[in-house]
Symmetry: C2
Subunit: 174 residues, 2 copies
DNA sequence: AGCACTATACACACCGTGTATACACCCGAT
DNA sequence: ATCGGGTGTATACACGGTGTGTATAGTGCT
């Protein structure tokens, strides 16, 4: 629900219509992948259904109609709760890389290859992010650093796992 | 598609029915959150639709009917491609934490609180994982280490961001 | 009769993508 | 001068993947 909450947060600054929200979102959060228009409206309709936003009039000004949406009290409460609640690190436990290694071992394929492919891909990504970070503003730098820290974490895990492959193979084989 | 691929991988060991797959999955990959039955069958039906598995007979043995599924050649090819393709680190760029901090700053709330809440939750999770890691087998240890490395990465980012909050606030305010 | 276990099916909700639609405005070609 | 096409604004809708919850149905045990 991160995107829904982000849109709600933007609506706290005043009522807006969908197209406008998309641009505001891209400017603030979408540096690395702009929001699709479709997603804006489907998200808005869900927020509307759940009573977190309300329609605030239809302007038929220059160009096509604009449906303005305003955040409701329930919406503000929801943003507040979202900001006050820590993100759960479940995704870190649902580890696709680990699944790949185990399946490679189970099926007699090379688990080392799996690790190597991932490592070299990550190293390439890190070079690119380091470049992007160099000529970005502080916001860009923070986003890149976040990704870089996590890529480093992946690399540490890849090394650790590579060093334990024999023992893991024995354990999986049982 | 991680779960679909994991099920395909398990089917490489021979045809199985859904209930059996669920248990095999939980044993190998589901330590930290067992697979819901519903998901097994909906995933299987998608694999069937895409021709990656095929029905391999219905046994009406003890108890209810069992539909056995076998992996197809297309399925094996698909597993192979999955194992040979590195995972994209996009999720690290779509950073919910960053969104929270920016929205807190935009709405005049305390971004420090957001960071603090997340940090103390992470520290608690890390203590728990360290405990779990101590009395697990190698597979558990690797899973816990993966999560721990990423939690550390989050913590590093939280510290970095906390130290830059004033500058970020100025940049966002523009 | 009630409960637990095995096994599947189905309806539903969320999230995201792609495509169609509609209006307005500008600009060049006829 | 006007016709048509491209561009920008704005929304709606249908669809696909993913995951959850619930219903169903048979078997065996107590």
């Amino acid at each position: 629900m991160a995107i829904g909450h982000a849109l709600l947060g933007l609506l706290e600054g005043g009522p807006r219509h969908g197209y406008d929200l998309k641009r505001a979102y891209d400017e603030r959060f979408g540096q690395h992948r702009p929001l699709a228009y479709g997603q804006v409206y489907s998200t808005l309709s869900r927020l509307l259904k759940n009573g977190l936003v309300a329609e605030a009039g239809v302007e038929a000004g220059d160009g096509p109609e604009r449906r303005r949406y305003a955040i409701t009290d329930a919406g503000v409460t929801d943003v507040e709760r979202w900001l006050g609640t820590p993100e759960k690190p479940e995704p870190y436990l649902q580890n696709t890389l680990y699944s790949k290694v185990v399946l490679a071992l189970l099926s007699g394929r090379s688990a080392t290859d799996v690790l190597d492919v991932q490592r070299s891909a990550h190293l390439g990504t890190m070079r690119e992010l380091t470049r992007r970070k160099a000529d970005g503003d502080l916001a860009d730098q923070l986003i890149c650093d976040f990704a870089l820290f996590h890529l480093e974490a992946d690399l540490r895990w890849l090394e650790l796992t590579a060093a334990r492959l024999d023992k893991l193979a024995a354990e999986v084989g049982k």
